[in-house]
């Protein structure tokens, strides 16, 4: 079953700016997907539509089997509260709010009683390795720790779909690696994880990469092992803020991929997939045939 199913989705903002045009994308349950593209290409719009924060101008979006266009604000909010987790580049942690309370807020709108919210929050913080930081406030935490708190908040309700918008954008490489490790761990546990990133090396370590350019979902690489150049030049010629892997941007031979331990860098810029953990629990391959067809387009 698909966590997100977008068909022929367009989003035109008032004033005639087309942020997304006729995009079709399916993310299966348990899949791990990177979304890449230059600034302004429409990847945030894609993420907002997938997260039901926005509605498409045309086309249909199904999230967790529900047609977003047909849901009321209340039903949509419940869908977000129970089935979707968000992680943002800016963390969005309230000033003066402790880590425990911030994470517990992840369950606030799902109607969970306070005591159970706090228990679940403590557990989620333990899962992200912050069991010792429960009562710390944002200014007492490092950037990496803050983002891990945000991840804990996103996963405290065990959502079916986790959407991360540049989760490592404000972090140094080692903190970023910790966060990516958390996200891939979630993917291994069965959550569909979609990550927007500017980090080509990071994207390369993902089993599936969706490229967005000028509002079009133009490239899908369905398999784990790939030839970067061919895949990335498959669609339109590279331009703008996103440049496909060129020799100087390839992973160093020593394998310093931020997705520590997950993908392995091989000399020549190839990332070899580690097959174990790439297959979601339901046995489906991470990318379905439809996605492959998308790639061929």
């Amino acid at each position: 079953m698909s966590a997100v199913d977008m068909r022929n989705v367009s989003r035109v903002y008032p004033g005639g700016v087309t942020a997304l045009a006729d995009a079709t994308l399916t993310v299966e349950d348990g899949e791990l997907v990177a979304v890449v593209g230059p600034s302004g290409s429409g990847k945030s719009t894609l993420l907002h539509l997938a997260g039901t924060l926005d509605r498409p101008t045309s086309g249909t979006v199904h999230v967790a089997g529900q047609d977003v266009g047909r849901l009321s604000d209340r039903a949509l909010s419940q869908l977000r509260a129970r089935s979707i987790g968000f992680v943002f580049q800016q963390f969005h942690l309230g000033v003066g709010v402790t880590a425990l309370d911030a994470v517990a807020d992840g369950l606030l709108y799902a109607g969970v009683p306070r005591r159970r919210r706090r228990d679940a929050a403590a557990e989620a913080l333990e899962r992200v390795g912050l069991a010792h930081r429960l009562t710390h406030r944002p200014h007492q935490l490092s950037g990496g720790e803050r983002q891990r708190v945000a991840v804990a908040r996103a996963i405290v309700g065990s959502p079916r779909l986790l959407l991360a918008d540049e989760p490592t954008g404000n972090l140094d490489s080692s903190s970023g690696a910790d966060v990516v490790e958390l996200l891939t761990g979630l993917h291994r546990a069965g959550t569909a994880v979609v990550v927007i990133t500017h980090d080509r090396d990071l994207a390369r370590s993902f089993p599936r990469v969706v490229s967005v350019r000028d509002g079009r979902v133009s490239t899908t690489r369905p398999d784990g092992s790939f030839a970067a150049e061919s895949a990335l030049s498959d669609g339109e010629p590279p331009s703008g803020g996103w440049v496909p892997a060129s020799p100087d941007s390839r992973p160093a031979p020593d394998g310093n991929i931020p997705a520590s331990g997950h993908g392995r860098a091989a000399p020549g810029g190839h990332v070899l997939a580690a097959p174990e953990g790439r297959v979601p629990p339901d046995g489906h391959p991470p990318s379905g045939g439809r996605s492959a067809a998308e790639a061929a387009r």
Binding site: D73, Q78, L108
Partner: protein, 389 residues
């Protein structure tokens, strides 16, 4: 979402911005405090009056000389006080009579500088009838009432600069020297005594040309039978012309004077209301700024699954809490101001419960009104726009 959760979420926004919360709550508090203090001071004044009336009694009646159809003064008969004393239900009766004389500190004072003080002949049972007392010295006795002795009213003594009574203190009254035997305490039920110099009835008749006709008869009645006495008083003191007698109950006048203060109280309440309104505008302003600044938080909460209604509720709750805080502070402040003022006046502290409940109610209304628009605005903010801010 549970009310407790709503309360908690609304409080978070306040807890993390203490200074701004303090300042905008202060605006509300000043308005509430002004209104509570106005009501409290007025109530305390009334409570003090009630206490005073309870102490001096409300069972005093006066029968004064009136005017006939021609507008001429009609003096009371000479035996008016004695007649009044015989009415069933009268416990005591006494009288004063106007003496055509002036009182001066010394014989060197120009005759025109009378200070608007009057000279009255008083019966020796006057003070007992009124339940009054002397501040210093002694009241007239049957002996001193025949001699050159005078008792000064409280204000008279102050205006003449007389502070002690005794054989050495003399004033110049009606062309003669009178020894000040005593000085009266203020007489709330007979304020005319405060600006008078009181001499004995016999000496007034003998040396000051007093005709012996009382101008005002005072009677103290059995409180239960006050109305019966009141009905009989006029025709008893002047059977020949009951219509030419003015019967009054001085405690009524006192109460009426306090009632007149209510106009002023209403005016001050209005001013307090304006202050409260300004406070409400301050809260609305704070909330609008808060909504503008917290777009990211609104977006995040929407992403976490908050409905529009829940976002609206959060900011509405925050506004209510903010003004409730101001309201509570204002009530405390208002009671404190009332307490200080009442202590200064020697009044009992009385702030009516309805003023305090009303203050809280007004606060809720103000907070709700001020928070409505910002809350609706917060709820209308599209989540994507809020997150990109």
């Amino acid at each position: 979402m549970r009310p407790a959760d709503m309360f908690r979420v609304g409080a978070v926004g306040l807890r993390t911005r203490p200074l701004r919360v303090f300042l905008s709550a202060l605006g509300i508090a000043i308005g509430i405090a002004a209104m509570v203090a106005v009501v409290g001071i007025s109530a305390s004044g009334r409570a003090a009056l009630d206490r005073e009336l309870a102490a001096i009694g409300t069972n005093i009646l006066t029968a004064g000389e009136g005017k006939n159809f021609g507008g001429e003064r009609v003096a009371l008969p000479r035996d008016a006080p004695d007649m009044a004393g015989r009415i069933s239900g009268v416990e005591a009766a006494s009288a004063i009579g106007r003496v055509e004389a002036n009182v001066y500190r010394t014989d060197r004072i120009p005759a025109g500088e009378t200070n608007a003080l009057s000279v009255l002949a008083a019966r020796t049972d006057l003070l007992g009838t009124l339940g009054g007392s002397v501040a210093t010295g002694v009241w007239l006795t049957d002996a001193t009432a025949r001699g050159q002795a005078v008792v000064l009213g409280a204000r008279t003594a102050r205006l003449l600069g007389v502070h002690t009574a005794g054989p050495d203190t003399r004033v110049f009254l009606g062309g003669q020297w009178f020894t000040v035997a005593g000085i009266l305490a203020p007489q709330p039920l007979a304020p005319e005594l405060d600006t008078a110099a009181l001499v004995g009835w016999p000496v007034a008749e003998e040396t000051l040309g007093f005709d012996g006709h009382g101008t005002t008869v005072y009677v103290r009645t059995d409180p239960e039978r006050l109305s019966q006495v009141r009905a009989l008083l006029a025709r008893t003191v002047n059977p020949a012309g009951p219509n030419e007698v003015t019967v009054a109950r001085p405690s009524d006048a006192l109460a009426a004077r306090k009632a007149a203060d209510r106009t002023l109280t209403a005016l001050l309440l209005g001013l307090g209301g304006v202050a409260l309104l300004v406070g409400g505008v301050g809260v609305a302003n704070t909330m609008i700024i808060s909504v503008l600044e917290r777009r990211a938080e609104i977006g995040l909460r929407r992403a976490l699954g908050a409905t529009k209604g829940q976002v609206r509720g959060q900011f509405f709750t925050e506004s209510l809490l903010l003004s409730a805080l101001g309201g509570a502070g204002g009530v405390l402040l208002g009671v404190a101001v009332t307490g200080v003022y009442a202590a200064g006046q020697g009044w009992p502290l009385a702030v009516p419960w309805w003023a305090q409940v009303g203050a809280v109610g007004a606060t809720v209304v103000i907070g709700g009104t001020a928070g409505l628009y910002p809350a609706v605005r917060a709820a209308r903010l599209p989540p994507t726009e809020a997150l990109s801010a």
